[in-house]
Symmetry: C2
Subunit: 230 residues, 2 copies
């Protein structure tokens, strides 16, 4: 029991940022753990939906979650997050409805924290509140970086970078080109053309609903990380 619990604590601590100058103590983690519970979600099911009352935040423990928002013309993917991400906390703290929907794209295990239990815990454990703050700010920074990255980059560069980010340990990305296009906010045809060029350059191989990365350094070069911003 001790082992599993300690592992759990270590993971919670990792999710909330760097541990070097403000260590979390055991009692903090105990408190945080007592304010929530694990939930499992199958691919395609929702953790929460846009417009629902935001009673909980989730910390993703396993799997991948897609955040998207409805518009009158279809839906728009905001981002895709994996292990360690904290989602739904913005709306929860503001006590307002969720402003996006969260859907599991692979089998997801998440730690669900209810507002009514969480807030007293944070008030009693300022270190945990500080951690959460730092975690949120890290996310803010990442989003700002994404804004800069999206601006003034060709579809080909964006595709290259996305493949580097999304490829699994075997170097494969299990996505249709249409989904990839939606994630990048580009058209399917443009993505297809970019992939064709990358294929001709022997950087990737393409198949049905699958893209395999065969030359990571080459892709990184195409993605233009050289002139990238921090």
């Amino acid at each position: 029991m001790v082992t599993a619990e300690q592992q759990h604590h270590a993971w919670l601590a990792r999710s909330f940022g760097r541990t070097d100058y403000l260590p979390l103590f055991e009692r903090d983690l105990d408190a945080l753990a007592s304010a929530g519970e694990y939930v499992d979600k199958y691919p395609g099911t929702h953790l929460f939906k846009e417009g629902d009352e935001a009673e909980s935040a989730y910390v993703v423990r396993k799997g991948s979650v897609e955040l998207y928002r409805k518009r009158q013309s279809g839906s728009r993917v905001v981002t895709r997050v994996g292990e360690g991400a904290v989602i739904g906390d913005i709306a929860m703290f503001q006590n307002r409805p969720y402003h996006s929907s969260a859907k599991a794209v692979s089998p997801v295990k998440a730690f669900k924290l209810d507002r009514v239990k969480l807030i007293p815990v944070l008030l009693d454990h300022p270190r945990v509140a500080m951690r959460w703050l730092i975690s949120g700010l890290n996310q803010l920074e990442a989003t700002q970086r994404r804004v800069i990255r999206l601006m003034h980059r060709t579809v080909k560069e964006q595709v290259a970078e996305m493949l580097l980010d999304e490829s699994d340990p075997y170097g494969e990305v299990q996505l249709s080109q249409a989904s990839l296009a939606t994630l990048l906010g580009a058209s399917r045809q443009s993505v297809n053309e970019s992939l064709a060029e990358l294929r001709d350059a022997k950087l990737v191989e393409t198949g049905y609903r699958m893209i395999r990365v065969v030359d990571r350094p080459g892709l990184a070069k195409v993605s233009g990380r050289g002139e990238a911003d921090l």
Copy 2:
């Protein structure tokens, strides 16, 4: 003395988000006020520069601050913030160098909070830490909205929206077209062309370093807020 101080406290409370379900108490604000001091900056001077050690965060009390980052080819504006904004806190909490520069674009009064003084205060006053957290998350949400807003919109639509956001009470925007273009991530020429069309449509008037909004509803229509995303 009491009046000015109370005003100060009320303003600090406002900057850190909604006050309805988690009120800040006097002692919290006293503590926060004691952890920093006011600084004044003339237009063109820096609050901090990219790469400097991040020892302080700033809460903008008056004026307008531009955040930008250097790249090998010139600089890129990340965002522009006004009264109530909290800047530099990300790098400060992470104990890393600032990753962007902050320059005053008008006479700025800001409340400077030093890390060494601030962190003990936050640990002693969990409500203040919660406030800060909520403030940061609000900013995160605004940034995510900006990402969505930027995607798939013409320069003309973006210009219209920017003018609505940035115009002062007299309906004027004191910006060169080049600065406007940088803020939008577009070229000066495209912005100029869009402004010419808006001028022809009697929605704005243009002058040297100045644009005056004369028809807000018309501009809102052009900006396409109808199909906008909350």
